[in-house]
């Protein structure tokens, strides 16, 4: 069941009502049952995967807490188990394909591709959460491992498929579901849910249909420079709206039952630098990388810029690989790593006599423009089917100029309109909050706002969602 499917949205109403009707101690079991059922609507057999993973991680965490002297061993056993399950489903075929390439290069017979098994949805996300659980246990942040807590932490359905990637210390304490009901909570939840539905159907999907065609093998070879730029921007916008839509829906639905999930996006295309981009884009992933991978690694190599830069590149390449088993994703990650290194080098110049230059307004604008351009360029290998396609498209964008427009005018207008929306989005959000506060401050304003204005706005959003509904599309991040 997709978050934007009719069945999900309609079942959500009674499911939420029943949640609040239940006595507090029953709620966690109810939510767990709902989560398992939700996962089973995709593939009943795959319910076993997160269960096995949670069991293994729980056992490792218990042992490492009980036997601190053997902590390292249990910790690494747990991590190895998670990576083995994750790697088996996610990277088995990729690895085999690459080995076969090598074998073919040496004239050897390729290995056969055994086991045609699908990738369990959300595995990238819950694997990372499981690893963070083990690290937290090793660092003494989790004093006692309770299986039901861990299993619910992983399975909690609003974030199961594609995040936000939550830390146990922020979700764990909420899993007693003891928060009393407040109307404000319901309204905040519905705000996010409806906005997500509109973002997905009205913003992301129409861009997606153009992107799907424009990134095809032969199209890439015949597109003009303007086409390639428009398509790269269109994909950047599509993936933003698509994933932000999913995140909004996840956060909104959790809010309906009183759970606060962390934010995932903060106007990423307003980033002032490559480093700032990662403070705004898929924030829970970059936080995970920072806390559990980058910080411990760099902390060990303190003071060595070379090691810092190398670890940035490696870590970002891994972030790319996490998105999918393909070299295009790795290239995307490496590009981002390179941007970050470049920015760090520039920043370190700030500590020299060049400080006045690095802190100038011109430099700030330069970095803004660089970030937008570089992030857009990096989406190219992320989206194209092959490395050759990516090279073709990037060459068309940056060197081999060809003029003309291949597509109907509506495509270019749509991209322009969506880009403009991105520009004004923070101002719109701010004005919306201000308008809400003003209305609420009026006499009777709060009542009118909650029971008239909001329902009317929800209805408008739902109407747009319904008329732009296209059953054949799915969320991009469900593949990762």
């Amino acid at each position: 069941m997709q978050f934007n499917s009719y069945s999900y949205l309609l079942l959500l109403i009674p499911a939420t009502a029943l949640f609040w009707a239940l006595p507090v101690p029953w709620r966690r079991w109810y939510v767990l049952a709902m989560s398992i059922l939700y996962y089973a609507t995709w593939n009943a057999a795959f319910v076993a995967v997160p269960l096995a993973l949670a069991l293994g991680v729980h056992l490792a965490a218990r042992l490492l807490i009980a036997q601190p002297e053997r902590g390292r061993r249990w910790f690494w056993s747990g991590v190895a188990l998670v990576l083995a399950i994750f790697g088996f489903f996610r990277y088995r075929l990729f690895l085999l394909a690459n080995i076969n390439h090598l074998l073919a290069a040496f004239g050897a017979r390729p290995m056969s591709v055994a086991w045609q098994i699908a990738v369990p949805l959300g595995i990238s996300f819950y694997s990372f959460e499981a690893i963070s659980y083990l690290i937290d246990a090793k660092q003494g942040r989790i004093k006692k491992s309770r299986f039901s807590d861990l299993y619910l932490f992983i399975m909690f359905w609003p974030h199961l498929m594609a995040g936000p990637i939550v830390r146990f210390r922020e979700l764990g304490p909420q899993l007693d579901f003891a928060r009393p009901f407040e109307l404000r909570m319901l309204l905040r939840g519905l705000d996010r849910l409806v906005w997500g539905l509109v973002q997905k159907n009205l913003f992301a999907n129409p861009l997606g249909s153009w992107v799907d065609q424009g990134f095809l093998h032969n199209a890439v070879r015949n597109n003009s420079t303007v086409d390639s730029w428009a398509l790269a921007v269109a994909f950047g916008l599509q993936i933003y709206f698509d994933f932000a839509a999913y995140s909004n829906m996840a956060i909104g639905v959790a809010q309906l039952i009183g759970i606060v999930l962390p934010e995932n996006f903060r106007f990423p295309y307003h980033a002032q630098s490559p480093a700032d981009f990662w403070n705004r884009w898929h924030m829970t992933l970059s936080r995970w990388i920072r806390d559990y991978l980058f910080f411990p690694v760099t902390a060990r190599f303190r003071g060595s810029p070379g090691a810092l830069y190398a670890s940035l590149l490696v870590v970002m390449a891994l972030v790319g690989l996490w998105h999918g088993a393909g070299w295009g994703f790795v290239a995307w990650g490496v590009l981002h790593g390179a941007y970050l290194v470049l920015y760090r080098v520039w920043e370190s110049l700030g500590e020299t006599r060049l400080a006045a230059v690095t802190k100038s307004r011109l430099a700030a604008w330069g970095w803004r423009i660089f970030t937008l351009t570089a992030v857009t360029a990096a989406w190219v290998p992320f989206r194209t089917a092959t490395g050759a396609d990516a090279a073709h498209m990037l060459a068309g964008m940056f060197g081999r100029f060809r003029f003309g427009f291949s597509y109907p005018m509506d495509f270019y207008l749509l991209v322009l309109l969506m880009a403009l929306f991105c520009v004004v989005e923070p101002f719109l959000a701010e004005s919306w909050t201000r308008a809400e506060n003003t209305i609420a401050a009026l006499r009777g304003g709060l009542l009118a706002h909650s029971y008239l204005l909001r329902p009317a706005i929800y209805a408008c959003g739902l109407l747009l969602f319904l008329i732009f509904d296209d059953r054949s599309t799915q969320f991009i991040y469900f593949q990762f």
Binding site: K138, Q139, A275, N279, R290, D291, Y292, F294, F295, P296, T298, A299, R300, R302, G303, L308, R344
Partner: protein
């Protein structure tokens, strides 16, 4: 043995030095964007020099340095004298 007041004072000074202004002990530094994750490493180095201690950062997370209060707790918990 480190003195909590001495650690707090050192933390306040190091933070103020790095961001160029004084902040409250409970103010969030990382999530508010005042300090980024790489600057935390510099912050740790500065604290180590000032207090003449070693802070083994391998088992820490940036969250442990989220505010002056957190920094004080963290240093008192993990710092070893040189």
């Amino acid at each position: 043995m480190l003195n909590p007041n001495q650690v707090r004072k050192a933390a306040q000074e190091v933070v103020a030095e790095m961001i160029g202004k004084k902040v409250g002990d409970a103010d969030y530094l990382i999530s508010s964007g005042l300090i980024d994750s790489l600057s935390i490493l510099k912050l740790i180095g500065n604290l180590e020099n000032r207090l003449s201690v070693t802070i083994p950062a391998g088992d820490l997370q940036p969250d442990d340095f989220e505010s002056v209060d957190f920094i004080t707790d963290t240093v008192l918990r993990v710092a070893r004298s040189r």
